[in-house]
Symmetry: C2
Subunit: 153 residues, 2 copies
Amino acid sequence: MTVIESIPVKSTVVDLCKTRPLHPRPDGQDRYTISEVSALSGLTAHTLRWYERIGLMPHVDRSHTGQRRFTNKDLDWLAFVSKLRLTGMPVADMVRYAELVREGEHTFDARQELLEQTRRDVITRMAELQDTLAVLDHKIDFYADARRASERA
Amino acid sequence: MTVIESIPVKSTVVDLCKTRPLHPRPDGQDRYTISEVSALSGLTAHTLRWYERIGLMPHVDRSHTGQRRFTNKDLDWLAFVSKLRLTGMPVADMVRYAELVREGEHTFDARQELLEQTRRDVITRMAELQDTLAVLDHKIDFYADARRASERA
DNA sequence: CGCTTGCTTGGAGTGCACTCCAACGTTCTA
DNA sequence: TAGAACGTTGGAGTGCACTCCAAGCAAGCG
């Protein structure tokens, strides 16, 4: 009951590059409206515009009337950004990373360092969560025991 | 290099109840000022007052002039609350839990359910973090490879 | 063509969890 | 007993990450 479930560790080798449809449309016909991207990415249209404004998106292509048309590349970037958000990385740091990407290949080292720091933060956070699990289980057991005792009475 | 370090799983049996000084002062002489509690708990004095105001602390004892005097019991509660914070539980939910505690033993079931939901959330979050780790490692490896390639050149 | 739905903008608003302020009273140390 | 350091309050302010608004074009359908 108290046993800590081992988190199923995904196979480390990335084997999903071909197994799921990476892009709804093939390159060349990849011009998505903001609401399509919203549905695909899980981010609201508001958030997509805001990401662009703060520099977390490279400038998005526009139709002849000025409406946004996102590409497959934009979709990939948003997927990566969403992963970074899940790590708990602050938006300001993600903007910093986006700037480094814009600056070109000479920023590879800085980008690697940023990601390695993020990785360390994730490891730390996982250890914290593991600790809280022990406390939670301890309390849950206490209440479960109390229930059993009262049922016997 | 890409291998996911297994998070050291703490022994589940709680063996720390006696091994570290649980309370700086023995019961009976346990009257701590707010700044002492701040130092002991890692929470600021501001936050301690705020916790009391919103009902996340039971009402704290006062000196004859109205200054707060915290007890060992208060310290224990704060330690538990800090653990709950680390789970990512919103403050509003922690206040709900505190209310249940104030209402007495007939809320054991509700408290257990609240903690079990929190436990599920923690497990989910850990899985998310594990996923981000795979993406992070993938990118880090890419940059490391690029560096090795440029060094050979 | 008209209608509905969608997209545009700058700027303002929201919710959370603190964090700080002013103006004062208390406690400790020399 | 002076002075520094600490404590009190209600209420206002901060930083983050969105989230929404109004007013006005744009796009797709019968």
